[in-house]
């Protein structure tokens, strides 16, 4: 009889070893999959994991890791605070869209005026857009006790329709020959969130993601609020006795995650993406949820998980073009990686016991 026994403390060894094991298991089974598709398994794995980091053109791919990873990390950090406290915002995708719309909207309102103050205003607007969108589930939860998982998820669809409406209507580029999509902010100096050092991939969103990681780390380890978050997640009743105000915590956690998601959207639309278009959102808000869990809701973990996710996207695209792997195979491969990480994570908090069940 094999049974699980909860560890008194999460295992440090396993919390470091399981991600490695998961990656190895994925490489093995992914290799089998690629072999089944008639591709050289070792080359495929090497292309996905090695090429972007140490290959011939890594000077280009490494910055791309930051560009792809930053929004994931930024959103996941915000989400992780709530998740730790048992507050489930799964509508980051919607907050991301609203942040982008607010940010781009403010920027485009100033067009073609140039001014140092435009970009900071856009940042504020983007943060506000994400924040206000997250305040809807927060206030409904606080006032009426509605489930924030469901409300925030519903609001994603509302935001997507809003995005379609905006890119076909109000924000449509008047010089775009009637095509949907806004002006390109990359061509609007004051609103453009470009690389701070050319070719480095370091735009303000990356900087902001780094700051968020540090901020979250300090908050969780050093600050009273971090303590309140952890206690609420682990023992909600005890938290109330120790003076944690659950209402304020809900508003704070949803607010901060919405704000960061909004910022991510705003930095994306004003930088790498450049435009508000119907298909502007590519699922960062949902992927970030996975990233948050892969990173075990720990800021440093999230940083690494975000970069790992970005690596599989970038490496996956390289494998597609160099080896002719179908995009679907890459998706399955990513799915496997997540499954292994999630499954093996068990060993961090539990240990296997062999033998008869003892009576507790």
């Amino acid at each position: 009889m094999i049974r699980l026994e909860k560890r008194p403390q999460p295992s440090r060894l396993f919390s470091l070893a399981t991600p490695l094991l998961a990656v190895l298991a994925t490489m093995f089974f992914g290799g089998l999959l690629f072999a089944a598709l008639g591709k050289e398994p070792l080359t495929s794995i090497q292309t996905i994991f090695w090429e972007p980091l140490f290959g011939e053109f890594s000077f280009f791919y490494r910055p791309q890791l930051l560009i792809k990873g930053a929004p994931l990390i930024l959103i996941a950090i915000g989400l992780s605070l709530g998740f730790k406290a048992g507050i489930w915002n799964i509508g980051a995708e919607g907050q991301y869209i609203m942040g982008a719309l607010f940010g781009a909207g403010v920027g485009l309102a100033f067009y073609p005026l140039e001014g140092f103050y435009i970009f900071p205003l856009m940042v504020l607007a983007g943060a506000f857009g994400g924040w206000i969108w997250a305040m809807i589930p927060a206030l409904l939860k606080v006032k009426f006790g509605t489930n924030e998982i469901l409300v925030s998820l519903m609001l994603v669809y509302v935001a997507e329709q809003f995005l379609a409406s905006m890119s076909l209507g109000l924000l449509k580029n008047p010089e775009g020959f009637g095509f949907p999509g806004s002006r390109n902010l990359q061509q609007y100096e004051s609103a453009f969130n470009g690389d701070l050092i050319a070719g480095s991939g370091m735009h303000w969103g990356v900087v902001c993601a780094m700051i968020a990681v540090i901020f979250a780390y300090v908050l969780l380890t050093r600050h009273r609020l971090g303590f309140a978050i952890r206690v609420t997640g682990e023992a909600p009743r005890a938290a109330r006795f120790s003076g944690v105000n659950p209402t304020r915590l809900v508003v704070f956690c949803l607010g901060i995650s919405g704000l960061l998601a909004g910022l991510a959207g705003m930095f994306e639309v004003s930088g790498p993406a450049g435009q508000v278009t119907i298909d502007f959102n590519v699922g960062y808000g949902f992927t970030a949820i996975i990233v948050a869990f892969l990173g075990r809701l720990h800021p440093i973990g999230i940083l690494l998980a975000g970069l790992l996710m970005a690596l599989t996207y970038i490496g996956g695209d390289i494998a597609q073009s160099q080896l002719g792997l179908p995009a679907a195979a890459i998706q399955v491969f990513q799915g496997m990686l997540l499954f292994f990480l999630l499954a093996l994570d068990m060993f961090t908090n539990y240990r296997l016991r062999f033998g008869r069940t003892e009576v507790a």
Binding site: L168, Q186, G199, E268, G274
Partner: protein, 357 residues
């Protein structure tokens, strides 16, 4: 923001990397917006890619990446292809326009071809197909064959490309049948088979006995088949599995001749930038076989119309034409210029309803 301008030189380093990669094989890259299994837009582009491989065999190597999101992902994929030594890159979605221009700046020696856009550069050419010529033929057949005088039209998004098709079909349907009416439904999606099926069903329920579609799935065909007594036209691909009824003909995106020609030009060193907007004549727009469900005389007229469009003796937008609001569009004998067509955002006279804003 500002530091970027100081250090643009670093971008040049990217450009240098490729020149070292001279090869004897010509490498051609394709960036696709959907999966090659979409049975429509991307599927047809991929057929063009395969045609390039078939034509040049060992002298060419093609690579592709499918389901690439517009925006930074597409920019990365294009750069990656250029770094890997591609000589020519086809970017096959309107949303790739600005990314293509961005990447092309960094790789002056790589040629880029952007589909359906309007921005060119020294090494960026644009190409698109005059699908509206095919729509004219559809309009003719539809107008001749409808008994209810109601023709349903499934639009994707209200953009010039789609509006142009509606106008062209309407003009030619009215020519043969002054009583014809168009019912237009916007699906607000490029791809959602279930919604397309619903749209077709709704149009049929509302009395349409011809359904034209500007979305790529076969869902409307199946809906029409089930309803019976409705004719449809294949879109993007031939959709021959629904012939002879409901599918009586089709517009086929045939990118192969263009892709082969442009690849050849790169091999010969004769590639130049430009804007190609080809129609039936050049073979970019294919008209699928007109099935026997169409009476012989109508079929003959349709083929004659096709021939006149192909040899240029007739233009699908020839005056006299008025806009929907009654203002003049084209005078007697005048034909629409490409600029007007490219940005078309109005209905012609006779179409009811407004273009959603």
């Amino acid at each position: 923001m500002k530091l970027t301008t100081l250090l643009t030189g670093a971008a040049m380093a990217l450009g240098l990397a490729t020149t070292a990669m001279a090869q004897d094989k010509t490498k051609v890259g394709f960036v696709y917006v959907g999966p090659i299994g979409d049975g429509g837009w991307t599927h047809e582009h991929d057929k063009g890619r395969l045609a390039v491989e078939a034509e040049f065999g060992d002298k060419v190597e093609t690579v592709y990446v499918e389901s690439v999101a517009e925006g930074p992902d597409s920019e990365r994929v294009m750069t990656q292809m250029a770094l890997d030594g591609a000589d020519l890159i086809f970017t096959t979605s309107f949303g790739y326009m600005d990314p293509t221009i961005n990447v092309a700046k960094k790789f002056p020696n790589v040629k880029f071809e952007h589909a359906t856009g309007y921005k060119q550069a020294e090494n960026v050419a644009t190409y698109s197909a005059r699908f509206y010529e095919g729509r004219a033929i559809q309009g003719h057949i539809a107008g001749s064959m409808t008994k209810s005088n109601i023709i349903g039209y499934i639009g994707s998004y209200p953009i010039p490309e789609v509006i142009r098709g509606i106008n062209s079909a309407f003009i030619h349907a009215r020519k043969v049948n002054p009583d014809v009416q168009f019912k237009i439904v916007w699906a607000y999606t490029w791809f959602d088979p279930a919604k397309e099926a619903d749209a077709a069903k709704v149009l049929i329920e509302q009395g349409a006995d011809v359904v034209l579609q500007h979305t790529d799935s076969t869902a409307p065909q199946a809906a029409a088949q089930e309803a019976g007594n409705v004719i449809t036209f294949g879109q993007a691909s031939d959709m021959a599995q629904y012939a002879p009824l409901p599918r009586v003909s089709s517009i086929i995106d045939d990118w192969a001749p263009y892709y082969i020609a442009r690849t050849k030009a790169v091999m010969d060193g004769t590639w130049t930038s430009g804007n190609t907007w080809d129609g039936i004549g050049a073979g970019m727009v294919g008209i699928g076989e007109i099935s026997d469900a169409v009476p012989a005389n109508i079929k003959a007229e349709a083929l004659a119309l096709k021939a006149s469009l192909a040899d240029g003796s007739y233009h699908a937008f020839t005056g006299p034409l008025k806009k929907q609001d009654g203002s003049d569009f084209l005078a007697e004998g005048e034909v629409a210029d490409d600029g007007t067509l490219a940005g078309m955002n109005f209905y012609v006279e006779g179409i009811e309803g407004d273009i959603p804003q």
